[in-house]
Subunit: 243 residues, 2 copies
């Protein structure tokens, strides 16, 4: 089966200012690859309505699935839910099941479900809720867009719950080989290999360790036998002193 495509939208001034180092993108990338879904594009934008709406529309049209992180908390700069609704021209309002989740959580922890917290029950019409086992405030799915929290532990639990329900393509397999030569010395072989195995993705990643230049070659695809064949060919093409 062909692999579905996906895009991610990371929302938040704190990432772009360098205050916070995003870890959600790397987590999602690995989880999607395991699921056989190809993460094809990532965008990171500030907490600005126009930036969010434009990106959501573009990504939602171009890819099978979109995953967002950030901007669904209780404060004035949490505007993701409103922007998703706007991107789909859909009304948004407090939803009773979302309010009940919040009410139960705050009752249990002896806190008040005040006006600010109630904003987290605002859900676009027609969306499906995503469970938040940590702090109750739900994410949601509208169309092909999965809207999740920015706090990594919550984001990761939402990803697990969402991906368990998505159908991936064939798993994306990979093999890698560490070669004690710089990229420039094996680039010719890699070019020929890539031409002969156009169904595979062949990447080369340089490293330098203890003053020696080397290369990790990673061959990726969905057909294990083809990957084996490419790896065998690669090994045979290397300078003798490398093997």
């Amino acid at each position: 089966m062909a692999n579905p495509t996906a895009a991610m939208l990371v929302i938040g001034d704190e990432i772009l200012s360098g205050r916070t180092r995003d870890s959600n993108m790397h987590h999602l990338a690995g989880a999607l690859t395991n699921q056989g879904i190809r993460l094809t594009e990532v965008r990171m934008v500030a907490d600005k309505p126009e930036a969010i709406i434009t990106a959501v529309r573009a990504l939602s049209e171009a890819y099978d699935h979109v995953f967002t992180s950030g901007g669904i908390g209780p404060t004035h700069d949490d505007i993701t839910a409103e922007c998703i609704a706007a991107a789909f021209d859909t009304p948004i309002g407090i939803r009773n099941d979302a309010r009940a989740l919040l009410q139960a959580h705050y009752d249990a922890t002896d806190q008040e479900l005040n006006e600010a917290r109630l904003r987290m029950a605002r859900i676009p019409d027609g969306a499906t809720l995503i469970d938040n086992p940590i702090s109750a405030a739900p994410g949601f799915i509208l169309g092909n867009v999965h809207v999740m929290a920015g706090v990594p532990v919550i984001f990761e639990s939402m990803v697990a719950s969402v991906l368990s329900k998505l159908t991936g393509g064939d798993p994306i397999l990979s093999q890698s080989l560490r070669i004690n030569h710089g990229e420039g010395e094996i680039a010719g072989s890699l070019t020929i290999l890539a031409e002969d195995f156009q169904d595979l993705s062949i990447g080369s990643y340089p490293f330098m360790k203890d003053g020696i230049y080397g290369t990790h070659v990673v061959i990726r695809g969905t057909d294990a036998a083809r990957i084996d064949a490419a790896m065998t060919r690669l090994a045979r093409s290397l300078p003798e002193d490398d093997m």
Copy 2:
């Protein structure tokens, strides 16, 4: 002076597959903020010509400066230079000064400047070279696009060299306050604060430590006195047991 805007384009399959964790975005974000340049959007795309060309054109038109990382090595999947040339409808070819830099580097390290490595001397017409003190292969600037290596140590040295020549706006200052209340309890105060200080950016970032919910509030702007005034107002608006 108004702060210039910037975008970053991270190029590479290895980032999107989750094999490699990008660190260049976070580094650039901090460096630009220090320089008074606002990083406004980031995109990450695969090693695919159409994806790179489309992103370069969109970002180059929308922002004052664009910074790219990745795809300028010697192998078949290093296609950034060709794509930048295509995005600007500019010819590209081996440039003598770039070739001389490579020749000197490989002569000094007893390696051959072979055909693959010579690809790293392909520079779009009219571009300015960016020095690479580590492995010689230069980056370049074409129009408002700064094309840099993906290997973090090289990327970071190129950023330092490029930013020293760019004019930023007023430095972007920030103050932060740690508050021992969840976001939901201070959200009302923050909303009023944000309305009264629209020239500042006021962000709130929840944390949970030892079972206690808290919030870091970060106020950012270019006028130190305004930031002081907003911080004072914020402190006064907090519940008494917090101060």
